[in-house]
C-alpha cells in the first residue's frame, strides 16, 4: 500500500503542473496537466459511447496518457523550433511549426524515448501487472497501435483545440489559426471531425 500511496503522491504533482503551451503564450493562471486529463477523459467517455470501442480501455488510456510528464515535463510541438531560435522568437506561435520529415521523425522518437523512460520510473514500484497495463496502454496511445489508441490520441488534440478556443475567445492573446491548421492534419476520425464542426460553429459564429 505504501508504494501505491507514493505513486499517487507523485501523480498528484500533475495538479500543479501548468501546460507549457499556455505558459509560453503568457496565459494567466493556465490549466494544469491534470485539468486537461480530466476533461479529455470525460470527452473520451461521452464520445466513445457513439463508437464501437472498448470504453474501459479508452478511459484508462486517457487517464494515464500524460503520467510520464511528472518527470518528462510537457513537450510542445514548438520545442524543436524554440531550441533552434532561442527565446527571442515569440512570433513563432503565430504559425504551426513546419519541419522536414526527418526532423519530425527524430523529434517524435526522442519524445517517445524520454517519456517512456519517465513512465517506467513513475510506475516502477507498482505491482507488475498494473505497471505493465499502464505501460502498454501508453504505448498503444502514443503509437496509435489500436482503435482506442488512435481515437484517444485524437481526442487529446480536440480537447486542446477546445481549450485554445476558450482562451482565445476570452482574451485574444494569441492567434487561433495554428490550431485550426494542425487539427485538419491530425484528426481523421469521422465522429471527431463532426465534433470539430460543432466547435467551429460555436466559437466562430458570425454576429
Amino acid at each position: 500500500m505504501k508504494n501505491l500511496l507514493n505513486f499517487l503522491v507523485e501523480v498528484g504533482k500533475l495538479k500543479r503542473m501548468p501546460r507549457m503551451g499556455w505558459v509560453l503564450r503568457g496565459i494567466d493562471n493556465p490549466e494544469t496537466i491534470a485539468d486537461h486529463t480530466f476533461r479529455m477523459t470525460l470527452m473520451t467517455w461521452i464520445l466513445c459511447c457513439k463508437k464501437k470501442l472498448n470504453i474501459s480501455k479508452a478511459l484508462k488510456m486517457s487517464l494515464i496518457h500524460d503520467l510520464c510528464e511528472v518527470y518528462a515535463g510537457d513537450t510542445t510541438p514548438f520545442d524543436c523550433i524554440l531550441s533552434r531560435k532561442g527565446k527571442k522568437g515569440k512570433n513563432i506561435f503565430n504559425k504551426w511549426p513546419r519541419l522536414s520529415k526527418k526532423e519530425k521523425e527524430i523529434f517524435f522518437l526522442n519524445k517517445c524515448k524520454k517519456e517512456n523512460k519517465a513512465l517506467r520510473k513513475i510506475t516502477s514500484k507498482l505491482p507488475p501487472k498494473l505497471r505493465k497495463e499502464i505501460i502498454n496502454l501508453w504505448d498503444e496511445y502514443e503509437k496509435g497501435l489500436t482503435l482506442e489508441g488512435r481515437f484517444v490520441r485524437q481526442v487529446d488534440r480536440v480537447e486542446n483545440l477546445l481549450q485554445a478556443l476558450e482562451y482565445w475567445k476570452k482574451g485574444k492573446k494569441f492567434k487561433i489559426e495554428p490550431w485550426w491548421i494542425q487539427i485538419e492534419e491530425l484528426v481523421d476520425d469521422p465522429l471527431l471531425l463532426k465534433f470539430i464542426k460543432v466547435l467551429e460553429k460555436r466559437f466562430h459564429k458570425k454576429k
Partner: protein, 158 residues
C-alpha cells in the same frame, strides 16, 4: 469491435500487423496450455504484446481486430510512372504552407502519425490533397483558409 472497411497499408505496415497477429496467436496457445513463455520474461519485449499477459479477453479482442485488418487489407502500391505526378496513398509530398516548407507522407488511417510525418488520407488535409499535382495549390477551409502549395511529389519505388 470490428469495422467493415478497407484498410490501406504499406507493405511494412501489413507485415507488422501480421507479425503481431502471429505473436499473439503463439501467446494465446502458450497461455491456454498453461505455459509461461520465455517471451514474457523479457523486459525488452515490444510492450504492446504484454498487455494481454493476464487478460485473455484483451488478447482475443486484439486478435479479432488484427484479423479483421488482415482480411480487409489493401496494399498501397506505387502507381505507374505516368501517374506518379499525382498525389495518392504512399506519396511523400513536399509543400509550402504560409511561407514554410513542410514534408509528409500520405498513409491510411491505421498508419497515420502526423507527429512523425505520416498524414491520414481520411484527414481533411489528406482528402483535399489526393488527386492533385506538383505546381498546384490546394485550399483547405476550416474557419480559416490554408493554402498548400505542392512543390514535389515522390513515391518510393519498390
Amino acid at each position: 469491435m470490428t469495422e467493415e472497411k478497407n484498410f490501406y497499408l504499406t507493405k511494412e505496415g501489413l507485415e507488422r500487423i501480421k507479425n503481431e497477429y502471429k505473436s499473439l496467436k503463439e501467446l494465446k496457445l502458450a497461455k491456454t496450455r498453461g505455459e509461461s513463455p520465455k517471451i514474457l520474461q523479457s523486459e525488452d519485449l515490444n510492450p504492446e504484446y504484454l498487455v494481454f499477459q493476464e487478460d485473455i479477453s484483451f488478447l482475443e479482442s486484439r486478435m479479432t481486430e488484427l484479423d479483421n485488418i488482415i482480411k480487409n487489407a489493401v496494399l498501397i502500391k506505387t502507381p505507374r510512372k505516368e501517374k506518379q505526378n499525382i498525389i495518392d496513398l504512399g506519396a511523400t509530398i513536399f509543400v509550402e504552407v504560409g511561407g514554410q516548407a513542410d514534408e509528409f507522407t500520405l498513409v491510411g488511417s491505421l498508419e497515420a502519425n502526423p507527429a512523425a510525418g505520416k498524414i491520414s488520407n481520411e484527414s481533411p488535409v489528406g482528402k483535399a490533397l489526393v488527386g492533385h499535382k506538383a505546381g498546384e495549390a490546394v485550399v483547405v477551409s476550416s474557419p480559416i483558409q490554408t493554402t498548400y502549395k505542392i512543390k514535389k511529389i515522390k513515391y518510393i519505388t519498390s
